[in-house]
Amino acid sequence: MAGYITRRFLGMILLLFLLTLTVFFLFNMLPADPARLSCGKACSPQIVENNRHRLELDIPPIEQYQRFISGLFFGRTYLADTKRPIECEAPCLGYSFLRNSDVLSLITRSVPATFWLAVGGFVVWMAIGLTFGIISALKRGKWQDRTIMGIALLGYSLPSFFIGLVLLFTVVLWLHLLPSPQWVDPFKDPVRFLQTMILPWITIAILNAAFYMRLTRNQVLEVFGDDYIRTARAKGLPERTVVVKHALRAGLTPIVTAAGLDLAYLLGGAIITENIYSLPGLGSLAVNSVIASDLPIITAITLITAAIIIVANLVVDLLYAVIDPRVRIS
């Protein structure tokens, strides 16, 4: 087990290295000129050149990359040749001159909203998806099954921006059941936090629960056909035990795989949902940084998102062994 985790960990570092390298060189191939973009209204060629120097775009990409890697471990100094240098302590993920802030601070500020959005949404959609998926399987072919699958199809068909806007306009702006969403720290104002997050969670859940209803239903139905389920029933086990202890556990493996990756994907930022509900998450930070060609932020978010996905993959693989005794990690 330890050897397996070590190998995966080393692979993760190699992958992250290649990813950041790719982002750096792709960015340098873009036609946009970040030095001009950050030039402001009164721009002259000389100011553009100055900005190119400030943004360290006047050095070869490979050296930019070396400085980035070095900053991760040893920190770095920006505007070092001026009387007002900017120190970025290790682990320095870069400094955004467009936002006048070090990237780590920006990301640290963005993580809580994304974390709570993803985790809350995950809990809601898994609860709905598993519950109604199982009910649908148990009532296969009956009106309950058809109704649940119909709703699932509808939920799966609706794009998140539509669901989000409809919920926001209906619940907040027309019915005034909730105040306008405004991000607050859950530990400072839990009531306002819940009032703000309930609609984003439902938005995320509607999309994903639909998929998990169908997935759970299919998995449970498949397992119901297996011999050991028939044996369990023949032995007189209660139906609840058959479903929960035997059928569901065996059918969980693909659900865990999908859930782990979906959660990891969400932890990288739910761009549309964050924007609709004005949540200060990683998704909106990433999109706006791409629009502004803000390389330090783009690189850092790529790095972090990739790390989350890779770790989630590893966790899912390890969970297989816990869920299914037939799987052995080696």
Partner: protein, 605 residues
């Protein structure tokens, strides 16, 4: 709130402003400077705002601003450079030597008046020196005195172009300080003075900017007739002890009626301003400072902003938008481009925004003037406007100077015969063909650069269709919005012509013609290098007689159109709406913004 004749009144306004400056320069001395309404002219005399009945009833509460932006571009007084930001920060935390008057009447609003200074500035006989005397009782948010040295230090920061970036650079352009040596220029410096952090050339700056007690004097390279408007941009004070360089933009020190309590950026971020208890209202004739707090909420979807303010439920009644009403909601709020629906009459406004929209044509890539004229003649400007929202989008333009610039504007006659014959709004492809034939050269294939949005994708189709009727082969080049100007300012990546918009820095065409058509101006997308035109710009900039100067800008505007450096499309209109609980809701003419210094919460009914 309707001002269908707004441009006419603003035209009168600039006439009045110009007259004031003319009087100041031509009158031969300080005493000739007229006093704007409510303004003292005696140096050293302090005048506070006259209390008006009902002031106490207007004080208190919080006014909220909903913004789709994720943050302010800058809050550093040497770097703020967006009209709405200048208006907001100018009304709350960032005072300048002079300001524009708060009034619903554009004629009055475009008048420059003393802010930190007791009056609108005193020029010498040829306007190569300007002096401003500070009021008594000016303080910073910690209660310390705001001094002439603070103003001088603030101005000096503009020269530190290695740290203080993105802001207006008029101090570098106008102050009598030599340009950079070749070595300095090579190193990226814009002046022989490198700013206070580096310190090189400090003596040059000290000669150009001097303090004598409460009076600061600026020596200029050349006569600048409207320098007292220039100092509204980037000439604000900064206390040296509080200067944090690049980081100052995230927490500037306040000298206005409010101070920064909290500032977080990104979606869900906010700026919270609370009262600056050390602000001395007796020293400030401009700001009423009615609300106890201002809060700007960032990252709100524009559709949500519209709905929240239209509904105006609960706290949303005390809300302003930092954007414009979205096209899909215009019919809900307005009966016509100039007429709000009765239920929104006291809080919805449709008025000129600061911008003229146009298509630049690269004169290097299309050097033949007949070819450039053929592009303008063939273009279906009416279809372009209709695609952008019809009459809500604005009036069809005839130049780069808008009618709301008062006496700086005169009809160029561009579409009424300037190009040889009248050109209909939907273009004249046959006449365009004739112009191409007269050019003596085949029309080259051209590409139209544009920042991509769904609306502009449709606009690209109109451009291609209308020009193809004149036999002009056009390709469209959509560019992601955030990268657009980075690409079209690159000579190697820009194509033959493209989309753009420009608004003046203050109500004078010196901040239009210069920027758009000279390299020094910084926005020369047309790559204009015609020497006679450049000489004309220099001549107009140094003209001391505002009326004569205005005529020169008019002539240059007309010449630029005749040579078709740009094809003007629309003089933009913007529609905005406020919550039901805030007033006044007029648009302040100098920046086309809310009148932040006068905004208050309406007392509960």
């Amino acid at each position: 709130m309707l001002r269908s004749d707004a441009w006419m009144r603003r035209a009168l306004a600039l006439g009045a402003t110009a007259s004031l400056v003319l009087a100041a320069c031509g009158g031969g001395g300080p005493s000739a400077t007229p006093a704007p309404p409510g303004e003292t002219t005696a140096p050293g005399e302090t005048t506070g705002p006259e209390p008006t009945p009902g002031d106490e009833a207007k004080r208190g509460g919080k006014v909220t601003i909903l913004s789709f932006n994720e943050e302010f571009d800058d809050m550093d007084p040497q770097r703020v450079y967006t009209g709405e930001d200048l208006a907001f920060f100018g009304a709350t935390i960032m005072r300048s030597l002079t300001s524009f008057v708060y009034s619903e009447d554009p004629e009055v609003a475009n008048t420059v008046t003393g802010d930190l200074a007791v009056d609108a500035g005193q020029p010498n006989a040829d306007a190569t020196e300007w002096s401003f005397t500070l009021r008594d009782g000016l303080t910073w948010e910690d209660g310390s005195e705001l001094t002439c040295e603070d103003v001088k230090y603030g101005v000096s920061r503009t020269f530190a172009n290695d740290v203080i970036t993105n802001g207006p650079t008029y101090a570098i352009a106008y102050l009598d300080i030599p340009g950079p040596s070749d070595a300095d220029a090579e190193a990226g410096w814009l002046s022989a003075y490198h700013g206070p952090y580096d310190g090189t050339g400090q003596e040059l700056f000290d000669q150009a900017v001097s303090c004598n007690g409460k009076t600061i004097t600026f020596k200029l390279k050349q006569p600048i007739a409207d320098f007292n408007m220039t100092v509204t941009l980037g000439f604000s004070p900064v206390p040296e002890s509080k200067d944090t360089g690049e980081q100052y933009t995230t927490r500037p020190f306040s000298n206005g009626p409010y101070k920064i309590e909290e500032y977080t950026t990104g979606n869900g971020g906010h700026l919270l301003l609370t009262r600056n208890e050390n602000w001395n209202p007796e020293s400030d004739p401009i700001r009423k400072a009615y609300p106890d707090e201002w809060e700007v909420l960032f990252g709100i979807d524009v559709k949500v902003i519209d709905q929240r303010i239209i509904e105006s439920q609960g706290d949303d009644a005390y809300t302003l938008m930092y954007s414009a009403v979205q096209p899909e909601n215009l019919a809900t709020v307005f009966d016509s481009p100039t007429q709000p629906k009765p239920e929104f009459a006291d809080r919805a406004v449709s008025d000129f925004d600061p911008y003229a929209r146009y298509y630049w044509i690269d004169t290097n890539k299309i050097p033949n003037v007949k070819h450039r004229q053929a592009i303008g003649v063939a273009l279906d400007r009416e279809a372009i406007r209709n695609n952008s929202g019809g009459e809500y989008a604005g009036e069809l333009g005839d130049g780069v100077i808008k009618p709301n610039l008062g006496n700086q504007y005169a009809p160029t006659g561009l579409w009424d015969g300037l190009l040889g014959q009248p050109i209909p709004d939907n273009g004249d492809p046959e006449y365009a063909k004739q112009l191409i034939a007269e050019s003596g050269e085949p029309m080259p294939s051209i590409t139209w650069d544009y920042p991509q949005t769904p609306v502009r994708d449709q606009e690209a189709a109109i451009v291609i269709d209308s020009l193809s009727k004149a036999g002009i082969n056009v390709q469209a080049n959509p560019i992601p919005g955030g990268q657009y100007y980075g690409i079209v300012f690159n000579d190697d990546q820009a194509h033959e012509f493209g989309w753009a918009g420009w608004g003046p820095d203050w109500p004078n065409a010196s901040t239009i013609i210069g920027p758009l058509f000279t390299d020094e101006g910084g926005w020369n997308l047309s790559r204009v290098h015609d020497q006679d035109f450049l000489d004309g710009v220099k001549d107009a900039l140094t003209e001391l007689d505002p009326a004569v100067q205005a005529k020169k800008w008019q002539d240059l505007n007309k010449l630029a159109m005749e040579r078709m450096y740009v094809v003007p499309t629309t003089f933009g209109l913007t529609q905005v709406i406020a919550g039901t609980g805030v007033a006044p809701t007029y648009q302040w003419a100098p920046y086309g913004s809310w009148a932040y210094a006068e905004i208050y919460r309406k007392p509960a009914q």
